[in-house]
Amino acid sequence: MAIIVHSGTLDKLYPVFMLASTGGSMDMDVHLFFTFWGLNALKKGGMESAKLPGVMSLGTGMMKGKIKSVGVPSLPELLEMTRMTEKVTIYACSTTMAMMDVPKEQLIPEVDEIVGAASFLAIAMDADVQLFI
């Protein structure tokens, strides 16, 4: 499974990490390519500060409270679960890093590789599931 993670908002990052942790648990090779706003999630503290999009961002706290109350893991916890499966690879888009002035040191250590579009396409060509989130 190959996913382009384009969005950095809470509502989009949840499906990404739910699919990644489940896919890894199903022994699928999962490749997550973080680009544009998605890259924010890979910055240190980025996952914790992800908000709902637009005007809904005001309701982020309420949504997080609801997520917690039903026992759904937080994004950092889901990230940890993807690592546990040892099947999920995390890529940061090199161009986005340059565009948004994000040096490697600002990224979380879970980032496996810094790559460009060709690397993602080579992986996506061989993947049965390709998503853009």
């Binding site: 942790s21 648990s25 199903m26 022994d27 026992g71 889901l78 679960m81």
Partner: protein
Amino acid sequence: MIVSDIKIDLELDCKGMFCPMPIVQLKKATKNMKPGQVLRLVATDPGSKRDVPAWADKTGNEILDSREEVKEFMFIIKVN
């Protein structure tokens, strides 16, 4: 084989958990089990009714028995 005679090596209680947790817990638990060992999973997430068989199908593990009781789903899974 009579299902009630099966020796359960590991009990996995996923009651109260929602997707993706039961599947992640299943992976975590079976990772440390030996081929031929048997796990019993109980979950309350309605999604697990189809999710657990899908997981077993893709990972090559075998569901020996499954039962649905009031708001509970039970699976007996042989690890391969």
